[in-house]
Symmetry: C2
Subunit: 279 residues, 2 copies
């Protein structure tokens, strides 16, 4: 495994670094960012929070805008932020911001032309953690979080793989993608017209039938422009009620879909994950 270091910035006593590597899962070169807290310099492995970003984002948005390094440094947690899709000139794309590059939706595409590269589900679940745990002082104690499309990805990955994650959280997740315009467009392209396969990538449908529980925290702004048409947190709440899933879902008056909302509550999310990661 070879990885190339692209940048390094000291931050809160730890290090923010960007790397590129060739992904066998995605058949292309990929970039990711990692924040290593000061505790990772002591020869000890630190636990990891994987962060999945939303539509149009790269590895940079969360690292630059969430203000998360401060608490990660205090709690001794690494943060890993992958890109949001495969990248490169030969990777299929779409004119819309909500399909193709920057919009991988954390699924394994089965339909042409997407299936050649768009396998973000496998990349985030398997290849990326294996690389991180091989190359960095990061343990296999993993939690996962994300925003919007990335909140959907985090919930789906944790709900389908409860043995792999200690905890999951999301900001403003696309909670019921089979039932909203963003999800229908992306799943229709990546997974095809037969909607039966879509259920495995829908957090509300997965939570409804869940029997193994991963501690889950969701925060949602009530002034979010996408709340009623795209995000539908009420579907996740109803699903949790049905299966008895211990979901903590908080609504916040006045907050929108931006990183200002994430920054305002990222401390609570990091403290939530650290509770389970350090146990």
């Amino acid at each position: 495994m070879t990885i190339e270091n692209l940048s390094s910035n000291k931050s809160f006593g730890g290090w923010h670094k960007q790397y590129s590597h060739y992904s066998k899962t995605l058949n292309c070169s990929m970039r990711f960012a990692i924040y290593l807290p000061p505790q990772a310099s002591n020869g000890k492995k630190v636990p990891a929070l994987y962060w999945l970003s939303g539509l149009t984002c790269t590895d940079e948005n969360f690292m630059q805008k969430a203000g998360a390094h401060r608490m990660a440094a205090e709690l001794g947690v690494a943060i890993i932020a992958p890109d949001t899709s495969p990248r490169g000139d030969d990777v299929a794309d779409d004119e819309g911001y909500d399909l193709g590059k920057g919009a991988g939706f954390y699924v394994n595409a089965t339909e042409a032309p997407w299936s050649k590269h768009y396998r973000m589900y496998d990349y985030v679940l398997n290849e990326l953690p294996a690389l991180i745990e091989d190359m960095f002082p990061v343990s296999d104690q993993r939690s996962i979080s994300g925003h919007s499309m990335g909140g959907h990805g985090a919930l789906v990955l944790a709900l389908r793989n409860p043995e792999r994650f200690q905890s999951v959280s999301a900001f403003s997740p696309i909670s019921n993608p089979v039932n909203c315009p963003w999800g229908k467009k992306a799943f229709g392209a990546y997974l095809g017209k037969d909607t039966a396969s879509w259920a495995e990538y829908d957090a509300s449908l997965l939570m409804q039938k869940a029997s193994k529980f991963v501690p889950a925290l969701v925060d949602q702004g009530e002034a979010d422009n996408f709340l009623t048409e795209q995000l539908k947190p009420e579907m996740l709440e109803a699903a949790a009620k049905q299966s008895g899933y211990p979901l903590e879902l908080n609504r916040h008056e006045g907050y929108d879909h931006s990183y200002y909302f994430i920054a305002s509550f990222i401390e609570e999310h990091l403290r939530f994950h650290a509770k389970y990661l350090n146990s």
Copy 2:
């Protein structure tokens, strides 16, 4: 005075807002951002920290990347971030990133074609605070801070107007612009070849002869690429020694010129200013 609200985001219980207005000082339309902490909603006026950004920046960089809202909300301080130069199609510009738009250097230009719009010194000192204190629940208790070119601007404004600012701080300021490539290029264009007028915009030369002291805090990363050629904090230190100026200048091993450095130490700067603003 009319101002137009361009955006509003709730952040840490307060509000981040962007506005545009016509500036008589700069003869063009300008954008600025303001963070109003929760305390500003109680009918009481809050004190203000004016933040001046560095080369190529707008009002957005600091607000999005510094993670400053958290402490501003805790301490009850408003933050005002102007743009870094006049803007618009009829505003003179240069091909370089270090002259013209995005590079106003917080001076009043005297040379054509710059003198028509480039009067950022007057804008930040007079027009902007007058507008802020007229239109928002913000008092005339003012502190000022900035990064790089903005650190230069903050120091110069406070050193020349000690009665107007309670405290000043800077990250990685251009400390002796008459003596570095960025400063020589900008001052040569804006102020002309006669270097006598340059001294009024040089923090080290001003500090050297200062007799009225504003509490001053400067932080500098030792892994900053611009440290020796452009920033020269040692000149500021020598000037402070000469005049007995109570300058606190801290060097930090491993930190670079990026916003990750600012984010790492912005809490200390806000606490520093709050000490003087709230007294």
